[in-house]
Symmetry: C3
């Protein structure tokens, strides 16, 4: 059960109400007070089961109800929680969890220490915490929350429903609706571009902006640079983990996933729905096709076709990479045998 | 000699007093004013020697005294600094350095700009710097120091003697005694968990906490996420370097070492005393056994047994990894010979 | 054309004035209003061309003038923008871009919320933004800009013309002239050094400083640690990208380039003009020679000679690394052929 001080629960629902919420058939007045994964669920909880290897544990599960597909329910041993048959148990679970432990809504208050430029436009219902700085000409959409100490540079535009954590810095950027930025995100600083001159490297002015699409979420301490001319763009619904670097002029499509500590060099293009693992490196000007999958720690030096799955450094078809790894191990073992 | 403005020295000690502090026999009223490594030590310094290749330089060392094992002292040429025989010279040196250049103790003052919730509990002797934000229900142990601009979210608990640098953000967390967080550490933000839905990825609510054990130290800009259900846990005395990512629900044991820029994916378990190099990546749900050692830049996709030493991507026994690297080089050389 | 709210343009120049600025011959009273790359340039723009594959597009380019070498101009088809013949078109372009879209100059104001120690020395013309903290004995050179919320620790020295972004933390450091630090940079925190003791790891006091040379630029969220005795040094004009970790006592020469997410372990030495790619890892005490080039994601365990070009983990001559990669792929293909 989540810690009630950190995650205060919403009022309980009856089992029938929960079933109605997720579109399942289910009856009864039993009170549901929360959600929990299979192994931790107690008598007032709804849980979910998607991995068939856990089916044998279901009779012993103490949850009041389990979200499960019809297919798996048919294979489950009798007993245990009431079944709530849904097409996508994990999604139903995520939504119920959000219902039972709602995240903090903006309180509509501006802390008296916040420094807000007189010509900034702040939508209704926003919460602006202590020591926030909002620059000239900023536009902040309704019901947004700006965490303590964040600095929003001049002329930045933020859509409604933004959740900006503490200690974020934003400049030269436009953000869509429902954007989530975790603490320490850096957006809009100049990209890394220099030209050799007679006495050293001289900066190439970075005159583009950063465009963050609706429902984008970006993890703690990630860094999104602006570029010299074309905008850096992150598409609708893309999710970026902690500590990711996105270079100048990168264009990332919609609904991509980029895992922690990955670095995307300047002018890279990433198609919709690509999934990029952690600690991946992408060389500049590379194009990654829509729906491509990149194994963690890969190094991409060439374009990746749509739908391809690549791994290794330099990155290649993931089957080839695995085959080469296995081949090298066999060669080593053979060599060792000969020397015995 | 350390810069006296940045590291103001404590009063000198006699050589006899220094010897007594480290449990060595040593006499004399010579004044010791500080510590310095072998190559930099001057007449008022204590130094140490643990690497036998430096023994020939000892007669020329200008330090007043050298911390050394009995074994090495017996092999040292005559002359040079007075010997202080100890079992662990580097440890004795570290403690003397802390004695001669004591770190800044909390001054017991709260800066007038700090914003502290009325129901927060602040122990005696704490120093709270400018622009700190401390949320509702926070408990801060005695003699802690919170650096400028740090934001402590509601209901966070911090043990006594904490040293929290500037610009740290903490939420949904419990910290033990003597915890050190360097600038820009991010603790307690939601882990990276989403469920595909009909129009995009939907967040899985992250309802666990982060538990940081006693004497844990975490480097600048490192990121420790909370998880969906089980707590993210970092055990007693573990030390984490800069820019490290620790995902949702990770469990790290006691006295581990994790070097800079490493990424630990969700639900990983790491046993006591494991040593993990820099830029290592660990896939989710992997278990690393107690005392295991992981070479820098390795990629762990499978469990690592206790005490094992692994390297490469995918990680394997470090001897196999080195052998494969060498074998491939030999094959390349052979191939080149044939084509000449 | 850059967004005029974010990048307000300076007054136009005539083509003759632009030519004079870059040392080209060129005449005419046509008004030049800005700069833009080849594909985006409009009638009032100056552009540049350095890649001969774009020569055929030149007649269709709408720019007023193009910066180009005499060699390429001789090969260009007729028509299109007026030629401005210069030895280094990209450098001339960068300087013109800085002329047309000048970066924000310090406004000479100190925000009333800034907390500045009474004995700090602030040069003339500085801009100090909201919620900045400047400690005892700090010296800040003329015409510097300290961004919102940055924390400058006691006795830090900063040369003239510094541009310190928001949310930077600085301690135990000396910075030269014209240093640029992007948001979230961490400088001067203690390096990662511990000594095993009877009940756990004990910190080795970190008593050195960080010295940042003139014209050094450091990217967002990068981390530069101080060391136990010798200073961490970054030489004149070196440029460091986002999210880079520089460990205790590292010595980096002049005019080096270090790309994002690279980690440099303690006591590494890097010679002048070295170029280090992204996500590179360098083991402690390694020496990288002047002018060496290190491919992204390499892992350096041994010294690199001056001028060498290395890649892979463990890093080796880049030609050998590529040859080994190709050889392994051929072996895999051969093996697959046999099994068919």
């Amino acid at each position: 059960m989540p810690d009630a001080r950190h995650f205060p629960p919403a009022p309980p629902l009856t089992l029938a109400e929960v079933a109605a919420l997720v579109g399942a058939s289910g009856e009864g007045a039993a009170l549901i007070t929360g959600t929990a994964p299979l192994a931790l669920a107690g008598p007032g909880d709804v849980t979910f089961l998607t991995d068939r290897s856990f089916l044998p544990t279901l009779p012993d599960c103490r949850a009041a109800a389990v979200l499960i597909t019809a297919d798996l329910a048919a294979k489950a041993p009798p007993g245990g929680p009431e079944r709530l048959i849904v097409a996508n148990p994990k999604l139903a679970y995520a939504r119920l969890a959000a219902r039972f432990y709602p995240s903090h809504a903006p309180d509509g208050q501006t802390h008296p220490t916040a420094q807000i430029a007189p010509d900034a436009t702040i939508g209704p219902g926003c919460q602006i915490d202590a020591f926030v700085v909002i620059g000239a000409g900023v536009s902040l959409g309704a019901n947004s929350h700006i965490g303590a100490g964040s600095v929003i540079g001049a002329h930045v535009t933020i859509g409604p429903g933004a959740r900006i954590g503490p200690h974020v810095t934003l400049s030269h950027a436009t953000l869509g609706a429902g954007v989530v930025l975790l603490p320490g995100v850096r957006i809009g600083q100049p990209g890394f571009g220099y030209v050799p001159g007679p006495v050293g490297l001289e900066p190439l002015p970075q005159l583009g902006l950063v465009q963050i699409g609706d429902w984008v979420e970006i993890g703690a301490n990630s860094m999104i640079d602006r570029g010299p001319a074309e905008d850096t763009v992150i598409g609708l619904g893309t999710k970026i983990d902690n500590g990711v670097h996105v270079g100048h002029g990168v264009r990332i499509g919609a609904h991509c996933v980029i895992v922690a500590l990955t670095g995307i060099s300047g002018s890279v293009t990433i198609g919709d729905g690509a999934m990029i693992g952690g600690q991946v490196g992408v060389a500049d000007h590379v194009t990654i096709g829509a729906g491509a999958q990149v194994v963690s720690q890969s190094g991409l030096m060439r374009d990746v076709p749509p739908g391809a799955k690549v791994g290794g450094t330099p990155a290649r078809d993931v089957r080839d990479w695995f085959a080469e790894t296995a081949l090298l191990a066999r060669l080593r073992e053979g060599r060792r045998d000969k020397t015995r």
